[in-house]
Amino acid sequence: MSEKKPQLIQGNEACVKAAIAAGIKFFAGYPITPSSEIAEGLAEELPKVSGRFIQMEDEIASMGAIIGGSLAGAKSMTATSGPGFSLKQENLGFAAMAEVPCVVVNVQRGGPSTGAPTLPSQGDMMQAKWGTHGDHPAIALCPASVRETFDLTVRAINLSEKYRTPVVLLIDEVIGHMRENVVLPTQDELEIVERKKPAKDLDNYLPYKADDDMIPPMANYGEGYLFHVTGLSHDETGFPDLKNPDVIGGLTERLVNKVEDNKDDIVEYSTENLDDAEVVIVAYGSAARTAATAMDQAREKGIKTGLITLKTIWPFPEEILTDLLKDVKTVVVPEMNLGQIKGEIKNCINLSQNIVGVNRVDGELITPAEILEAIVKEES
């Protein structure tokens, strides 16, 4: 990390480097294609920084272990793919409820079920939002390049520590396994966030009393505060209170709002050629790269086309998209699923505007030609 020179690495390897740079000290995981290089890389790197790696007996255990590791004070992370992500959902909900910072990387593959291992997919967008039961906060980021995988891994870790919530990094197999020549930032160029600590008042610590920013300061186990953590609905003391609707409702709303009300801080996206655009492609992950080529080809044909690349998928930036898309005639949404995010974007436009999805669920990439064809069809 000290020398700034180009290196040819995979997205999954960039994720490992970012995890170490952002201070991950504990990884628990269970091997699953196409995410395994992340576990393998961290098995090698963590002991070098006095961190610990464990290969657990399954994905459920891995998710439980990183919650335990985080409560004990270690920045913690796991990595998986579709079926494993499904298994993690119950404990992901626990992390949201108990406000335990941790990061879950999901290098997506085709589904449902064991689906199409090793083949690319963007099929877990909705699972990242609604996979666990009940209303809960969701932060999910989606890189479109190897360098962005590094940046968004650091950001996922930072956001989880800042907001005391699990953060999901949705990589697709194309980005996870693609090698690109990248120059990574040096350690001193990175902003690393540490969890907010309580004042040293051991006897009066209320582990779930939030500050004005809706986030409670977090003590680690072993620092002298004796407190209770549970997945049950709880009051500021951390103990269950199921008799008081205000406590149950207030907690759920605070958990969701600490994320939803901070969209300005959490949402990241980029735009290209929007000024005069009549057609705008909204894309994320590897499909955003295809979309950039399609945009250029459409421009060559004289169709004023722009591109919005979403890096934050959840919380969904509907206000931003509503504003950016308000004068656009047609919105094109390429996705390696049957339109999971298209539905969200539909809420950001009005009835006079067209929205068209370009979708594949056959394990093949979306080509620029397919997106171009959709654009030309809409414009003719």
């Binding site: 000290k25 504990f26 628990a28 002991p47 070098k48 006095s50 610990r52 464990i54 657990m56 007996e57 399954d58 459920i60 255990a61 891995s62 998710m63 439980g64 272990a65 990183i66 919650i67 335990g68 590791g69 985080s70 409560l71 004990a72 004070g73 270690a74 913690s76 119950e90 404990n91 626990f94 680690n220 186990y221 072993g222 620092e223 002298g224 505060y225 004796l226 407190f227 209770h228 953590v229 549970t230 997945g231 049950l232 103990f239 269950p240």
Partner: protein, 277 residues
């Protein structure tokens, strides 16, 4: 309750919610006496539980406590121990929590010989959900989901733990409360994965359905059926079948402990890094 033990309890959370006659309070009592005996640092001790009657114990204990998802206490506890190996980690679990949904985590924690002490509150039934049969309900016994008698074979968790690699295994019973305290004390003192099964009584959901109507009946049953390991060895295999062996069943001092083994990896890697610059 000796006054000096009160610091281990969250007195404002008492009285507990366990049913009249339940044995879980006796195990909790044995646990805090054992913690006191060993002299564990209260601030450096984390108690982890899953879901079920037994798992409510963490709420009453004045430590760093973690009440997790059903069956997963061991997985969370493994993370706590690796997140900060200086912490003493204790898992409290029930027979359903540890042997059914959590069975895989239990055997793998034993296999790793990770330095965690586990106490299973075995009342032979799912109490929190009102009396369904568990993997430890004896064959033929009745439960709400075994209205004609349980068809399943019951686990012997201690045998399972010994064969999985736990380096300390003991079994006690609430009838023999002092011995139970001694067993948990030894388990806490032991480096490596230590496991104590505490046979507990559930008169409400197990006893009443199985012709042991009161807590006293159930304790009498414990007295009749339990036998010390040494005495059991004198019995024929058939006679042994009728009895439940209690006491220290297994102890190995020289099995490598997981966290220490991983520390060796860290040392090895940092040396290598040091020499190669």
């Amino acid at each position: 309750m000796a006054v000096h033990l009160r610091k281990y309890l969250r007195l404002n959370k008492l009285p507990h919610i366990w049913c009249p006659g339940c044995g879980h309070g006796i195990i909790l009592n044995s646990l805090i006496r054992a913690i006191d005996e060993v002299g564990l640092d209260q601030e450096k001790t984390v108690v982890v539980s899953g879901i079920g009657c037994s798992s409510r114990a963490t709420g009453y204990l004045n430590f760093n406590t973690l009440h997790t998802t059903h069956g997963r206490a061991m997985a969370f506890a493994t993370g706590v121990k690796l997140g900060n190996p200086d912490l003493n980690v204790i898992v409290l679990s029930g027979d359903g929590d540890s042997a059914a949904i959590g069975g895989n985590h239990l055997i793998h924690a034993a296999r790793r010989n990770i330095d965690i002490t586990t106490v299973v509150f075995n009342n032979n039934i799912y109490g929190m959900t009102s009396g369904q049969y568990s993997p430890l309900t004896p064959k033929g016994a009745y439960g709400t989901t075994a209205p004609y008698g349980n068809v399943d074979q019951a686990f012997d968790l201690c045998d399972l733990m010994i064969s999985s690699g736990a380096s300390y295994v003991g079994r006690g019973a609430t009838y023999h409360a002092k011995q139970l305290t001694t067993l948990i004390t030894s388990a806490l003192d032991h480096k490596g994965f230590s496991f104590v099964e505490g046979i507990s009584q559930c008169p409400t959901y197990y006893g009443r359905r199985n012709n042991l109507k009161t807590a006293v009946d159930m304790l009498q049953w414990q007295k009749d059926v339990t036998i010390k390991k040494k005495a059991a060895e004198k019995l024929s295999p058939e006679e042994q079948q009728e009895k439940i062996m209690i006491g220290e069943l297994h102890k190995v001092a020289d099995r490598p402990e997981y966290v220490e083994e991983y520390e060796k990896v860290i040392e090895k890697v940092s040396k290598k890094e040091g020499t190669t610059g």
